[in-house]
């Protein structure tokens, strides 16, 4: 096992700290503890908690930390209570939970397609969800719940369509991506068409839904996304070891005793549902699902997909982006999706730049 061998790596002068294996239940449940991974995940968690606290404090009405803590346990001034408990806390929780959901779902999609670009953004899920939401708002004049359902329906339909169009004796990674680009362009023109037919107020609402925003999210949304994340993320984490084996190739995984077809179907369904829940609450926030798994992997230097790290990174990315969206041009509010698009697109540019320089495609 590589886990027990000190690596003869010239770049690391000190031998890397040895991973420890924790065992429980007579060896049936075991867990490899890698110091670097643990340190990185600890830092991600700490940064998320810190930004969570900051997002409760800052705003047009600033509240210092002691009063925030008081308000959290139900003490303090009425205004503090209103802002912390009624406005900022649900918004911050929504950001964290949606971030976890998008990060984990993105990691699963990337693992299944064995391609860092196989994220919901590229395969049309996000664009389809935006089109579904806009159509529900502008054509049917739907309520918040109906808009959410419209977004999920649009996303699933588009993802299936892209997958089928790219299917030709199996789905090859780059064909999937190119078909996704084509379908996205078509959907974009449908959205533009709907937007030009609406009056300005409706068009503005739809425009915000097209990008994804966390403005004015309350406890109802938090509960909805908490249920989805609470059920689906543990399920996917449990599938994690099998997914990592499948990255070595379907044949190898099959030989090692992984039920490949069943795992693929279960993971695909669960990850789609998770993306759907996240999008239904926040609108199609782009690029978190693309960037979070890759960033987590690079920081922690894990070899395969790290679902847990992707979830943590997603939470950190989204709460940071939301904070930026709120405060960057305050008092005006940016939609968080615009911030993640700039960050995520920039990250994609950097990814391409790096990987191509080293000669990998």
């Amino acid at each position: 096992m590589t886990a027990t061998l000190p690596r003869p790596d010239a770049r690391t002068p000190a031998p890397p700290a040895r991973p420890r294996v924790l065992r429980a239940a007579g060896g049936r449940v075991s867990f490899v503890l890698r110091p670097r991974v643990a340190a990185v995940y600890g830092a991600l968690l700490a940064a998320t908690v810190a930004l969570f606290a900051v997002s409760l404090m800052v705003g047009d009405y600033e509240i210092p930390l002691p009063r925030v803590l008081l308000a959290l346990i139900g003490q303090g001034e009425r205004l503090d209570l209103f802002f912390v408990q009624g406005v900022r806390l649900p918004r911050a929780w929504t950001a964290v939970l949606v971030g976890v959901g998008l990060g984990v779902a993105g990691a699963v999609f990337q693992s299944l397609s064995r391609n860092p670009l196989g994220s919901p953004d590229i395969i049309g899920f996000t664009g389809g969800a935006a089109t579904g939401a806009v159509a529900t708002i502008l054509v049917l004049g739907g309520s918040m719940l109906q808009v959410s359902l419209g977004a999920v329906a649009g996303g699933v339909f588009t993802a299936v369509l892209v997958y089928l169009l790219a299917f030709k004796k199996g789905v090859q990674g780059y064909r999937l991506i190119l078909v996704g680009i084509g379908v996205n362009a078509m959907l974009l023109s449908v959205r533009d068409y709907l937007i030009t037919r609406a009056d300005l107020t409706d068009a503005m609402t739809a425009q915000i839904w097209m990008i994804g925003s966390l403005n004015g999210r309350g406890w109802g949304e938090v509960i909805a996304v908490a249920i989805g994340v609470g059920v689906l993320v543990p399920f996917l984490l449990a599938l994690g070891p099998r997914l990592r084996l499948m990255e070595m190739g379907d044949q190898t995984a099959y030989a090692l005793g992984v039920p490949v077809q069943g795992t693929q179907a279960a993971a695909l369904l669960a990850a789609s549902a998770l993306t759907g829940v996240a999008i239904a609450v926040s609108g199609p926030i782009g690029f978190v699902a693309l960037a979070a798994p890759q960033l987590a992997r690079r920081l922690a230097r894990t070899s395969g997909t790290a679902l847990f790290g992707a979830g943590l990174m997603g939470a950190l990315l989204l709460i940071a982006a939301d904070l930026a969206a709120q405060r960057l041009v305050a008092p005006a509010q940016l939609p968080v999706g615009a911030v993640t698009a700039v960050i995520g697109g920039g990250y994609l540019v950097w990814l391409l730049y790096r990987e191509w320089r080293t000669g990998r495609a």
Binding site: L117, S189, Q207, L334, G337, V342, L352
Partner: protein, 382 residues
């Protein structure tokens, strides 16, 4: 001589004319007969080439005829239908009647703008495909339209530019910067600019630009309200005023593009071989880049970002006349102009009330073609 066929049938037909020896001749070659056969071959080939050119010129004339028909229809069809005979009369003399003033003040400028924009997009696509030897190169896919759009939105938001001429300069700047960035990003690495890399680089850059556009929309509803109609890609309400602004740029771009045919033919051999043959690759690249920026910037500034015309039309032209850029470029220009004026005319009658913008029609027609190309072709270089 069965192997030498004068009829051009796409790429394989053209290579058969220029390279293959007749099957009958190869068996009997020895000494003196060799020169005689070679002379025969040469004569036959010259005759075949002349015939090919005549056929292609006739085809181009026919395409121009179709374009003229499209122009007549585009002038005739609309909220107020005008009989074709009246359109014909109006084109030669303006008698000041209501119909004639509709023709002169509304329909004719819009139609002429459509011809220019269409030709510009078709040529830009053909140039980009030839220059990068990439079947998926297109102003939309490579993010150049997004660059021009983002620049126009920023100019409106940050500098309050509302004039068409002001937007145009920003559109040129945006198109130019994005083109250089995407090409630099896509052509890094040992294997150079492969189709997939360029498309991905275009998507990544477009995502950043789209984020900026969305952020500006969220901050300023005035900009959003002004730009949302322009972002669809449309000729509605673009008349004489817009045309007067852009025609010099588009004309220079079109002429420059049409002159680059022979140079692009050399580049099609591969850059190493072209350099060995003495072609000035960098000069060709630079001129083509200037033409692309003029064409894309001018087209986007006047009609908004229009997707897929630049992608599909050169493929149709290549299927008709083969890979010779001296013919490919003019065919692309004329066919794209037909597509754009035709789509614009269809858009006026396809809905029970109101118009369907030309950008939507071209996207709905072009995206399936793009997907079909992706499915069919091996993603090798052109």
């Amino acid at each position: 001589m069965p192997a030498i066929s004068a009829r051009p049938r796409g790429a394989t037909g053209a290579t058969a004319v220029s390279l293959e020896r007749p099957a009958a001749a190869t068996g009997v070659l020895d000494g003196t007969e060799d020169t005689a056969v070679a002379a025969d071959l040469l004569r036959e080939r010259t005759r075949a080439r002349a015939r090919t050119h005549a056929v292609r010129a006739a085809g181009l004339a026919a395409a121009l005829g179709v374009l003229l028909l499209c122009v007549m229809l585009s002038i005739a069809v609309g909220a107020k239908p005008i009989p074709l005979a009246t359109v014909w009369d109006a084109l030669w003399s303006n008698d000041g009647s209501y119909d004639h003033s509709v023709v002169y003040e509304l329909r004719l400028p819009r139609t002429v703008l459509g011809i220019f924009v269409g030709a510009a997009l078709g040529l830009a696509g053909a140039l980009m495909q030839g220059l990068t030897r990439n079947p998926l190169a297109e102003p939309g896919i490579l993010g150049i339209n997004s660059g021009a759009s983002a620049a126009v939105v920023v100019s409106l938001f940050a500098f309050g530019v509302t004039s068409a001429s002001g937007h145009m300069w920003f559109a040129f700047a945006g198109a130019g910067i994005t083109a250089v960035l995407v090409y630099a990003l896509g052509s890094r690495g040992r294997t150079g600019a492969t189709p997939v890399r360029l498309a991905l680089a275009g998507t990544a850059v477009a995502a950043v630009l789209q984020g900026i556009i969305y952020a500006i929309f969220a901050l300023d509803d005035f900009v959003f309200d002004r730009v949302r109609f322009w972002l669809v890609g449309s000729l509605v309400g673009r008349g004489l005023e817009t045309f007067v602004q852009v025609w010099p740029f588009l004309t220079v771009g079109i002429v420059l593009a049409l002159c680059l045919g022979p140079a692009l033919n050399t580049i099609a051999l591969g850059e190493d071989l072209a350099a060995a043959l003495g072609a000035r690759i960098n000069r060709t690249r630079l001129l083509a880049a200037v033409a692309i920026v003029l064409l894309c910037g001018g087209a986007t500034a006047s009609a908004g970002p229009i997707w897929f015309v630049g992608l599909t039309v050169p493929h149709v032209a290549r299927a008709l006349v083969g890979p010779d850029h001296r013919w490919l470029l003019p065919y692309s220009a004329v066919l794209a102009a037909i597509l754009l004026t035709g789509a614009d005319t269809v858009g006026r009658i396809v809905l029970p009330n109101g118009e369907l913008e030309v950008g939507i029609i071209t996207a709905l027609v072009g995206a399936p073609v793009f997907i079909a190309l992706v499915r069919r072709r091996k993603m090798a270089a052109l």
